[in-house]
């Protein structure tokens, strides 16, 4: 059986999205800046997509700047905004479980002289608001807390975090990559000034994302050129990609409520089934988690060998093990929840998606115990009774 369960790492483009995109590769190839019918056609398509993306989060189309993806949007939000606010101060507070792109942007800003503070999380990965409040001061320019964590699924209290930022006159940024299309988002209602959005996570193409910027915010552009995207992101627009993102956003808005309910049932059954394996533990919050995320750790074995073994039986997943990372460090997110490295190594993250069904979930629940047992039997550190 085939059971791809790593949608958070990479998702297919919805065929309905692809159908909308295709004419913009071939027939409607004009440059949106051109003053002729080819240009107008492309520009109209981009404007429509801007409206579709804005609509998904209840924003004004003018508040959406298209980028090459969530990483660039995170860069534009932090590296672009921070120098604009230098008069106010130089402190930036980010949560300890931000995506690695944001963590590395923060580190880079630290080298540029910014005072970076990391707000801790509890054992379920929920940001500690009282600690956040202690770290945010009047010299703080940006607070960044993700809407939901892509690895352990924990949903963050961003409205409360935003209120803390605003009490001190700081901007509030949220990376909504793992939350978009999974839970309702509305930056205006939630007090969000900057929101990172990604296309592939809602079955749009890779290589496209956006930054929501509350009206009036103008980051220093990272890419200088012909002044596209109101001067905030130059370069000829990726029209097919943007059209795809727009279509994906419209579909996500229409289908999210039913899909979230369906995925939540699959997720809960998957977690229940996996936790019947001896010495297994849930990572992340039991209920405050995105509908698609199940993350479980197994003692005495290592996640990369679990992933390779699952791949052999047709199931794809991710791990927070150092052994699957470029850095050779276990996931900073799991460590932030208080796990020891040896426990983080045995974690397995499943992110469910539109093509998953209960047959696949039951198949995985049947397959995994044997795999865990085989690897434990091979491990020199397993207690005898688990082999």
């Amino acid at each position: 059986m085939k059971a791809y369960m790593d949608y958070g790492s990479g998702a297919p483009v919805d065929p309905r999205v692809l159908r909308e995109m295709l004419p913009y590769f071939t027939d409607h190839f004009g440059n949106p800046s051109s003053f002729h019918s080819y240009g107008f056609t492309a520009l109209r398509a981009i404007n429509r997509a801007r409206g579709q993306v804005a609509d998904l989060i209840g924003a004004d189309p003018q508040e959406i700047v298209f980028t090459s993806g969530a990483t660039e949007a995170n860069n534009l939000a932090l590296t672009g905004m921070a120098p604009r606010l230098a008069k106010k101060g130089n402190r930036i507070v980010v949560s300890a479980i931000e995506h690695i792109s944001l963590i590395n942007i923060a580190k880079d800003l630290s080298r540029q002289g910014f005072d970076i503070q990391y707000a801790p999380v509890d054992g379920d990965g929920v940001i500690l608001l009282d600690k956040l409040a202690e770290l945010v001061d009047d010299r703080t320019v940006i607070v960044s807390v993700m809407a939901a964590n892509g690895e352990i699924g924990t949903i963050q209290p961003i409205e409360e975090a935003a209120a803390i930022a605003h009490r001190h006159g700081a901007l509030f940024h949220t990376d909504a990559t793992a939350a978009l299309g999974k839970i309702p988002l509305n930056p205006a209602w939630q007090g969000v000034d900057l929101m990172t959005l990604s296309s592939n996570d809602i079955y749009g193409p890779k290589g496209v994302g956006a930054l929501y910027l509350r009206k009036g915010l103008r980051p220093k552009p990272l890419i200088i050129g012909g002044g596209q995207e109101q001067g905030m992101r130059s370069g000829t627009e990726n029209t097919p990609g943007i059209v795809g993102f727009g279509e994906a956003a419209e579909l996500a808005k229409a289908e999210m409520p039913a899909e979230a309910e369906r995925l939540t049932k699959l997720r809960d059954r998957l977690i229940e089934g996996l936790l019947t394996i001896p010495e297994s533990h849930l990572n992340g919050h039991p209920t405050r988690r995105t509908p698609n995320n199940a993350n479980v750790r197994f003692s005495y074995i290592e996640g990369e060998s679990l992933i390779l073994s699952l791949d052999e039986v047709g199931v794809q997943a991710s791990t927070g093990s150092a052994c699957a990372a470029k850095t050779l460090e276990p996931s900073h997110c799991l460590l932030a929840t208080g796990l020891k490295p040896e426990d983080a190594h045995g974690s397995l993250a499943f992110t469910l998606g539109k093509d998953n069904n209960s047959e696949q979930v039951e198949y995985l629940i049947r397959q995994l115990p044997g795999i865990v047992k085989r690897l434990r039997a091979m491990s020199p550190i397993t207690p005898e009774e688990l082999r």
């Binding site: 093990s321 050779l328 490295p341 091979m378 020199p380």
Partner: protein, 125 residues
Amino acid sequence: MYSEKVLEHFKNPRNVGEIKDADGVGTVGNPVCGDMMTMYIKVKDDRIADIKFKTYGCGAAIATSSMTTELAKGKTVDEALEITRQSVADALEGLPPVKMHCSNLAADALHEAIMDYKKRREAKR
């Protein structure tokens, strides 16, 4: 990404297990780093007559363990000492650069087991 050979050894590792009355045992790595392995050797007439391993770790850790046992079996202990991390990696048609040092510990475990065997032999004399 792994070579076909690494994946093949990961799927079908050779010589997994323990030798209860081993003549030498070597353990390297630790669970904090994510890789740990123990090698057991049985020596007859100065040759490695039997060898088994137990490994906690990633695909590369398991595949290098398996390959090392294959390379060592039947060799004299001194020949087996010439097996290096590099020769194990070469026999597996290469390892990702990041894995060369963290997970490629099996040759070290084998050397530890041989040293343990030599020490025990000295003690008997």
